[in-house]
């Protein structure tokens, strides 16, 4: 029981940390990382819910299946979001990494 508690709370904290980062940070990659951390947090709670210590019975397979599904979703969305953010960067003429117009960064880099 204590194991479930520990991991549930950890998952919740991961969710909260991710959420805060997602809103506060403006860098797209950081946002995507934050979303990934959030989803991991949710999965952790779910799996912890299903957890039964060894020898005390079977583990509930339904949450496992749900998490598997969820992981695949999160990977595909991550990939899409990454490609999208690259594309935004290319077209928007702003350095999303540093929040500056591209020209300035280019100057810095060539210097």
């Amino acid at each position: 029981m204590i194991t479930t508690q520990i991991y549930s709370i950890t998952g919740l904290l991961l969710f909260g940390m991710g959420l805060f980062t997602l809103i506060v940070h403006s860098h797209p990659l950081r946002k995507i990382l934050a979303v990934n951390v959030m989803s991991t947090g949710v999965f952790l709670i779910l799996i912890a819910t299903a957890y039964t210590p060894l020898g005390q019975g079977e583990v509930d397979p339904v949450p496992h299946a749900m998490v598997l599904t969820g992981i695949v979703v999160s990977v595909s969305v991550t990939a899409l979001a990454l490609i999208l953010s690259c594309r935004v960067q290319e077209t928007s003429n702003r350095d999303l990494l540093r929040e500056k117009p591209v020209a300035e960064t280019a100057k810095e880099c060539t210097r």
Binding site: L19, V35, M66, V77, V88, T91, S92
Partner: protein, 503 residues
């Protein structure tokens, strides 16, 4: 299969899905595939409606595994009405998209890019349609999460399709917001599963006790869905995403995608967890809805670009759906459902007609600055007419479907002496009048010495689908008894739900 076989309800899900896969696989004949899919989808929706009217609501267990083990689908009144709404709107949008892309492909400088857009539009749209239908029919909370993901991803991809920097940025925000929404929803599911141990909505509804776990789950799921529905403090992503997308995409996003998450939210509140809802929560929703109505309308009035204005009017119109929440305390369930359904259907038709018209205007004039759109009527009379009629629906004038919804809203607000909601509704309608007519008066006026722009040939598909949808939205009120009949017939009776497990 017999006509009373519940298996039919997979058709609106699997058919567009297959069509989407095929469209992606083959580059030829895609329109034929898509058109037959949307037609079949529409017919399936009609068939399911007929089935519902004849045999009552239906339940279908996937693979023969019943709840709680398997996933069930079900049809009831609201679900088939949403299916019908999607069917009709989807058909019109498909036709319009055909005209839209053909017109743009004929534009010599941009042929390749537009071919590319069209090629990816079809599969994304088909998969989105299948996700929506899946959402309306599903009766399993985790399955609903997946349909939400399908909708979210395809909608965000569609929003980015135009390739403009603004659209890409908006789409990125949209994707992240929708992702945040689904994650919050998923966290809610986790709480729910932990508290109840089942995923099937009927089984969840039968639970008599609602502990703090269920309440927390409901709160989380609601927040997630509200993010996707863009209720006011969470609406920041909507206007840029809807306004910068291609016209058929804007129509899809505004008309259907938002309704999907709203429908789910409403279903959770008023069907599944009806007994766990507190008055305070309802009032919060109503307040947010009121703010949405007023704020969205003010923003719409202030916009200089047509599509942004239409997008903000979506923010405003969504508020009406939420004002129904606090009124549910006094009105009966059927009445609240009919308010929401009428509003949603009327708004879906009207808003897609509006976006289509705006798109046609954009195509022909190359911009959508309201200031410079004087005398559009001379060039595009049907489009302007469609826009106007859709505007009448947004204002909630009779006999539109929105009028019926507003009538019911006002009626229950006055009956329960909650006159402040009535005030908001009335103010919202008057403000809607201002933003609708601000544009229309420019469109229809032809000042002296005005020379209308000569337009090249364009397909009828660019104008008539919008007009058809606008007319449907206007005349929906006259056909009000039918939706009501369907709603009444499809209401649940709880005795039919079997204890699950047996295949």
């Amino acid at each position: 299969m017999n006509v009373d076989n519940p298996t039919w309800m997979i058709i609106p899900i699997l058919l567009p899905l297959t069509a989407g896969l095929l469209c992606f696989l083959f580059h030829r004949k895609t329109f034929a595939i898509v058109l037959s899919a949307v037609l079949a989808n529409f017919m399936a929706a009609c068939f399911l409606t007929g089935q519902l009217l004849t045999f009552g609501h239906m339940r279908y267990s996937m693979g023969g595994w019943q709840a709680p083990l398997g996933i069930t689908l079900r049809t009831d009144g609201p679900a088939v009405l949403m299916l019908l709404m999607t069917g009709v709107t989807g058909l019109a949008i498909t036709l319009y998209a055909r005209g839209y892309f053909s017109f743009r492909i004929d534009d010599p400088g941009r042929t390749e890019r537009h071919q590319h857009q069209q090629r990816y539009f079809w599969p994304l749209w088909m998969l989105l349609l299948s996700g929506l239908n899946g959402l309306f029919l599903s009766n399993d909370i985790f399955n609903l999460y997946i349909t939400l993901e399908i909708i979210g991803i395809s909608a965000a991809s569609l929003a980015a399709l135009s390739g403009k920097p603004a659209a890409l940025l908006a789409s990125f925000r949209y994707l992240l917001t929708s992702l945040l929404g689904s994650l919050t929803f998923l966290l809610g599911i986790v709480f729910l599963y932990k508290s109840c141990g089942v995923l099937d909505l009927d089984l969840l509804r039968n639970l008599t006790e609602h502990g703090p776990g269920v309440r927390a789950a409901l709160a989380l799921m609601s927040v997630g869905l509200l993010l996707k529905t863009a209720l006011v403090p969470m609406h920041f992503w909507l206007p840029p995403a809807h306004a910068n997308a291609l016209a058929p995409v804007s129509a899809i996003l505004s008309a259907l995608v938002i309704k999907g998450s709203f429908y789910l939210l409403f279903r959770l509140w008023f069907e599944v967890f009806a007994s766990a809802i507190t008055t305070a929560a309802l009032n919060v929703m109503g307040t947010l809805g009121s703010v949405a109505i007023l704020w969205g309308a003010i923003q719409a009035i202030r916009q200089h670009r047509l599509k942004l204005m239409v997008a903000y009017s979506t923010v405003s119109q969504l508020g009406y759906l939420f004002i129904a929440f606090p009124l549910s305390r006094t009105a009966d369930n059927a009445q609240v459902w009919s308010i929401v359904i009428f509003m949603a259907m009327a708004h879906a038709c009207a808003k897609s007609a509006m976006f289509m018209s705006a798109g046609t205007i954009f195509l022909h004039f190359g911009h959508d600055r309201i200031r410079d759109l004087t005398g559009v009527r001379a060039s595009l009379p049907i489009t302007v007419f469609a826009y106007g009629i859709a505007g009448v629906t947004l204002m909630g004038l009779p006999p539109s479907g929105a009028f019926i919804a507003k009538w019911l809203l006002l009626s229950s607000a006055l009956a329960s002496s909650q006159w402040w909601w009535a005030l908001v509704i009335v103010a919202g309608s008057v403000m809607a009048m201002i933003y609708v007519f601000r544009v229309i008066s420019r469109f229809i006026v032809i000042p002296e010495g005005f020379s209308s722009q000569k337009l090249g040939y364009h397909s009828r598909l660019l104008e008539w689908p919008a007009l058809a949808l606008a007319m449907i939205s206007l005349l929906l009120g006259l056909a009000a008894p039918w939706p009501l009949h369907i709603l009444a017939r499809g209401s649940h009776d709880l005795t039919q739900i079997l204890p699950g497990g047996l295949p």
